[in-house]
């Protein structure tokens, strides 16, 4: 299936997980980066803003992932009803 609109439901989970991962990586990285930046800037190169930032990033990624997955599951359920 080349067309991106119709993704199979069984594949969506996998895709979601993939996205989640990539997203978390980005988030964490970004967070770290931001943290780093902050640490650099604001928090005199302490280590804790990087971790904070990473943590923030992870948390955001986690939340996003969860939300995404749940959305998929509940959408699939409702979809079933519609079909």
């Amino acid at each position: 299936m080349a067309v991106g609109v119709n993704t199979w439901s069984e594949e969506e989970m996998g895709k979601k997980w993939d996205r989640c991962l990539t997203d978390s990586v980005f988030k964490i990285g970004g967070g770290t980066a931001v943290g780093a930046v902050f640490s650099l800037l604001f928090f005199k190169r302490r280590g804790w803003p990087i971790l904070l930032g990473a943590g923030f990033g992870l948390g955001v990624a986690y939340a996003n992932c969860e939300r995404d997955l749940n959305a998929t599951v509940s959408h699939g359920a409702t979809r079933k009803l519609a079909a």
């Binding site: 989970m13 749940n70 509940s74």
Partner: protein, 689 residues
């Protein structure tokens, strides 16, 4: 003869009422040889006839009559006595015969007498009696002559066997015989002559009377011949008579002069015979003379007529030299014809005048003679006048009759002609009408026949046509039906093939391609099926309408594709088994993933009861059980069961399997449709098997 008529006037029959006695008495008075009884009775009668008469007359008469009656009867009874009586009383034989009607009937005798009397009177008055009477008298007399002679002959014959005389008697007998023969001959010839003379006279008369209208040459010749014959006969008769007389005289000499041995009575009888013969001959001669006299008158009449005719012919010859009366067709020109007619007319007038004169003169003369002669001879003259008058009247009546006849003939002819004409007209009209009617009738009849025949032919033709049309229609319908059937069969085949295509498209995947790319829109197949099916095939239409739209447009995953996909779905569903439908936190996800990794594929077999479709509760099945069962059925290719089990999923597994389930549903629907169509096609095809 005249004396007889005077003595016995003809008053009818009463003369013969007292037949026996009075006649005999009269007869006996003429004969002297009578018995004593008779003479006595005569005397008695003579004596007693003058007186008033008492019973004596009656007694004598009675006795006489009885005696005569007895004699007669005994004579009839006893022939010997009869003979003796005949010898004694000469006239007894005829009397006997008359009385007992031996020879002739009394009626015939009466008739004869009457006839003879009337004939004689007639002869006296009219010169010429009828031919018939002439003939009768001729033959009659002949017959009589025979009779008398035979009578005479009998007696000498009777005597011959009794005695055989010598030569003299024999000669006598021979002589007698000869005499008799010659006498008969002579008398016969006399009679013949007389007859001939009479006949000629009559012929002449008839000829004259007839030939007023026509001249008959043959008749004349006839008459001439008869006349000659008559002459001959007369001569003959005279000769015969002469010989007879000679014989008679000779016999007489012999008998009287020569001596005889024969008895006296023979001589006497011979003499008597001779006398009788002589008498007969003389009588015949007298007869002949009489006839001659009559004939002479006829001859005179005939001669006069001949003379007149000759005179007439001469005159005609003078007037018309080249004409003969005897020619059948005269060729005279018109003038001569007129002259001839005028001459004939003149003659006719002259003769009429003469006739009238003669008639009147005759009448006058007769009357004068009558008056002169007085009452004495009135009878004869009266009769003559009467006959004369009668003849005159007859002539007048004839003339009148002729005239009347002509008139009537004319009238009748005219009437007949008119009637015939009318009849002819009526007949022609009738015939015309009948013809016209007949024509019409015939025409009608023929027209009708023609129509009938025509209609019959038409009917036949129509019949044939109908037959043919029927056959044609039959053929057509048969062909149509066949075509229909063929079309149906073909169509069924096409339908089946289309359905088969659909089925196959569903069943098999395109080889060499992964399941993701095996979606093929089924539009073609479906349209093919639609085309193959009839327009009004409801089943096909419904079914095809029931096929989901995705199948038509997007296509349907084949069974193998579904199967492959199921594997992935199963694994995905296993991974999120613990996750409920609303979603859960992430750690749950991790947990479910861990569970799926750690759980070994359950070895718990599906209980037999569930497999046998016994009522089971499906509530207590968790995801893994469900998935197991789904897998079980998937392995056996029963996607329907798989779907059923998959439907039992709940939560995140359900949502993961959702697509697959939808796809499986679509597939199943399509497959169902395809199966139905297939069966339908197969059933339709069965019709044409």
């Amino acid at each position: 003869m005249l004396r007889l008529t005077l003595k016995f006037p003809y008053h009818g029959l009463p003369r013969f009422q007292k037949h026996g006695s009075s006649r005999l008495l009269s007869l006996s008075s003429s004969h002297s040889q009578k018995t004593n009884l008779d003479s006595a009775s005569k005397r008695d009668r003579g004596g007693s006839s003058g007186s008033g008469g008492g019973s004596g007359i009656f007694y004598t008469i009675g006795v006489l009559s009885v005696a005569t009656g007895a004699t007669l009867v005994y004579a009839k009874y006893d022939p010997e006595f009869r003979r003796w009586l005949n010898n004694q009383v000469p006239w007894s034989e005829p009397v006997l015969e008359f009385v007992f009607q031996e020879k002739e009937d009394w009626n015939t005798v009466l008739q004869n007498i009457l006839d003879s009397v009337s004939q004689r009177t007639h002869k006296l008055i009219s010169g010429f009696s009828s031919k018939q009477e002439v003939k009768e008298t001729c033959e009659e007399e002949k017959g009589k002559k025979e009779f008398i002679l035979t009578g005479e002959r009998e007696k000498p014959a009777a005597k011959d066997p009794a005695q055989l005389p010598e030569t003299h008697p024999l000669n006598l007998v021979d002589l007698e015989k000869k005499i008799r023969e010659s006498a008969t001959i002579a008398v016969n010839s006399y009679r013949e002559a007389a007859c001939a003379v009479r006949e000629t006279g009559l012929d002449i008369l008839t000829l004259v009377e007839q030939s007023v209208q026509q001249t008959d040459e043959k008749g004349l010749q006839n008459i001439k011949a008869k006349y000659e014959r008559k002459e001959v006969l007369v001569k003959q008769a005279e000769n015969k008579a002469q010989t007879a007389i000679d014989n008679v005289t000779r016999l007489k000499e012999i008998v009287e002069t020569k001596p005889l041995d024969a008895p006296e009575n023979m001589k006497a009888s011979a003499l008597r015979n001779v006398e009788r013969v002589m008498e007969e001959i003389s009588a015949a001669k007298d007869d002949l003379e009489r006839e001659k006299k009559n004939a002479s008158m006829a001859e005179k009449y005939w001669k006069k007529v001949e003379a007149a005719r000759k005179h007439y012919i001469d005159e005609l010859l003078i007037l018309f030299p080249d004409v003969r009366l005897s020619d059948k067709d005269w060729r005279i020109n018109k003038q001569d014809l007129d002259l001839f007619i005028y001459y004939c007319f003149q003659n006719v007038l002259y003769y009429q005048k003469e006739l009238a004169k003669i008639e009147t003169l005759q009448a006058e003369k007769l009357n004068a003679a009558l008056r002169g002669s007085g009452e004495k001879v009135d009878k004869e003259l009266l009769d003559a006048t009467v006959t004369d008058a009668l003849e005159r009247q007859q002539r007048e009546l004839e003339l009148q009759f002729q005239k009347r006849i002509l008139e009537i003939q004319q009238a009748v002819d005219k009437e007949m002609r008119i009637q015939l004409k009318r009849q002819a007209e009526a007949h022609s009209d009738h015939v015309c009408d009948a013809l016209a009617m007949r024509e019409k009738e015939l025409e009608r009849k023929f027209l009708r026949q023609e129509e009938e025949k025509l209609s019959a032919e038409q009917d036949k033709f129509k019949h044939q046509l109908a037959g043919m049309i029927g056959r044609l229609q039959g053929l057509e319908s048969a062909l149509k039906a066949r075509a229909h059937i063929d079309k149906g069969a073909h169509q069924a085949q096409v339908l089946w093939s289309a359905c088969q295509a659909l089925h196959c498209a569903l069943k098999h995947s395109q080889p060499g391609m992964p399941w993701q790319e095996q979606l093929r829109p089924l539009q073609n197949e479906i349209t093919a099926v639609q085309k193959a099916a009839l327009e009004d095939d409801e089943l096909v239409n419904a079914v095809l309408g029931g096929i989901p739209a995705e199948a038509k447009t997007r296509g349907v995953f084949s069974e193998t594709a579904l199967r492959e996909r199921f594997l992935q779905v199963e694994s995905a569903a296993r991974k999120v088994a613990l996750v409920p439908s609303e979603g859960a936190s992430l750690p749950v996800y991790f947990l479910s993933y861990l569970q799926s990794a750690l759980l070994i594929k359950a070895v718990n077999p599906i209980p037999q009861s569930e497999l046998l479709n016994e009522p089971t509760s499906f509530d207590k099945l968790d995801t893994y059980d469900v998935l197991q069962r789904a897998r079980y059925w998937m392995e056996r290719g029963n996607i329907e069961q798989t779907l059923r089990y998959m439907n039992l999923l709940s939560g995140a597994s359900r949502s993961v399997a959702q697509d697959w389930m939808t796809e499986a549903r679509i597939f199943l629907e399509t497959k169902q449709a395809a199966t139905v169509l297939m069966t339908h096609a197969a059933a339709a095809g069965l019709l044409y098997v």
